[in-house]
Amino acid sequence: MASLIPDIVEDALVAVPEVPGRRRRPRLRLWRAVVLFLAGAYFLIPIYAGLRFSFENDAGHLSLYAVKAIPSEPGFSAAFWLSMRLAVVTLALTLVLMVPTSVYVHLKLPRLRRLLDFVTILPIVIPPIVLILGVLRAAPLWLRASPYLLSLVYVILSMPFVYRSLDAGLSAIDLKTLVEASRSLGGNWLNTLWRVVVPNLRSALLSATVLTLALVLGEFTMASLDLWTTLPVWIYQFQQVDAHVSTAVSMVSLIGTWLLITLIVSLDRSQSRRTRRRTNNS
């Protein structure tokens, strides 16, 4: 997930593979083209179908009415802002909980890594129905009345992705040696975490952020069972009113999520490019 879109496309289309060989290259190119084509078809055909449907009216003719109608549709703006607030709260909770925990476990309780691996897979293994029914029954009343109960559920749901990202990031650096080097140079725990550990987890944190946002902005089951009209729930409900508008919203939401991700990723890339440039000048 490190540095996403532009690099990847570049790599896949232009770059020389690590083991090239003049004679081999055509075969490799073919394979790459096939993989790209299949992956592309798998994902782009549904999106294309969705886009075309968004720009059609009931008669099947090309039209912009569905896109234009979005902001004024009843309930849209409430659903949109609810989703946004949930995304921010969930992200903050998740990072504050998971970053120190996974660093601590990596460093001091490596035996617990397997346990955490298992614990964080549970949300995938437990059927969502069971989870939300259980949570709804177990939560105190004041929390059950708040949409932020959903945030708590989303924190659980995002744990597998977030923990795995952080775990991979922490495994990729020699955490123990870096921390000990910092300690022996006089760094306290806070300095060590902030100046040494976190900067070297940038990709992992980025990936965790992207996944959490995507999850919260796309989740339907929990929200609908908890009876809060988040954006995906609104899309589903509104489909019965006007399928074209509903599809247009889902397309816009998809594109919005992508833009958000691209923004975060390109911030990261410009950061590392600045680093690179500064270096080359020397």
Binding site: L178, E180, S184, N191, N200, T279
Partner: protein, 369 residues
Amino acid sequence: MTELVDATRTTGAAPAGARVSLEGLVRTYGTTRALDGFSLAIEPGEFVALLGPSGCGKTTALRVLAGFERLDSGRVTVDGRDVSKISAQHRDMGMVFQSYSLFPNMNALNNVAFGLRMRRQHATQRRQKAGELLELVGLSDQASKYPHQMSGGQQQRIALARALAIEPRVLLLDEPLSALDAKVRAELRDQIRQLQQRLAITTVFVTHDQEEALSMADRVCVMSAGRAEQTATPAALYSRPTTSFVAEFVGVSSRVPVEPVDGSVVLFGERCRIRASDTGLPNGPLDALLRPEDVAITLDETAKPFVTHKSFLGATTRVIAQVDGVAVRVDVRSDVAADIELGARVRVSVVSRDVLVAERSVTNPVSPQ
């Protein structure tokens, strides 16, 4: 060389080395005793190597000294002060690690300046100091490079500069050369040793490579099973090992079975005095421990021993001769060795009439090594 001396002067970094004492260290992991009453006294400015096979406790000893491991019992003093309870952060010991330990998110200069930053030194001051230390290790031109842009040898030199930047009371080196290529290793070995002598900083160096320990250290402490087997200068360790473990671990030895008669033994037909190895003369059957340079061979068609192996070492060539079913290693000048064919009959004799002995080993003496 003059440059180095100058650089030292400008940094003002000539801390009088600290006196370090490790007393009766014990450290247990589950049922394993990593340190089992290990003691060692280190003089100010001394370069001591901890040498031993893996699992002998040498790294644990270093980590106890650095403050990364707690003790079950025993104590660590620096200049007479007990530091056992002080955390690593406040021990003022510079450490160079085995694996590359530079902070990947900082360039060389900021890596070196990190310790000064933690000590809240002013930015210009710490940048100047870091620059001087980069000069000291000969990498001024790499100041703005990031770790991944440098070779392994360069990274370890930056790590050395970083450890020295805080003007530590003790310098700790945890196999800093083991990840490097043979050529770079040899170069860095000399550089570390020269810097250490110039700065007169008390240094503890952990290694499993006896060549490294012998060539760099003022004194070498050979460890085994969490204890010090022998602590001595390289020359003393090599020529007067006090236990057979040390005799075999340090330098290459051939074991030749001999029978003791009145405090002497007969070796290749000659009577030799016994230089004791294990404290006191062992009872029962003995082996003579022969260094390759303790033995000489001459071509002799009538002799029974024959040459089974030759390997070129440069100025000398190592020849293995089989004497009554025992493999004996001999170092021969390469121009002489050129005339000795594989399978040639040779006469084997001892150079010195003074041999090390140890208890008879149970391992098969006809092994290919």
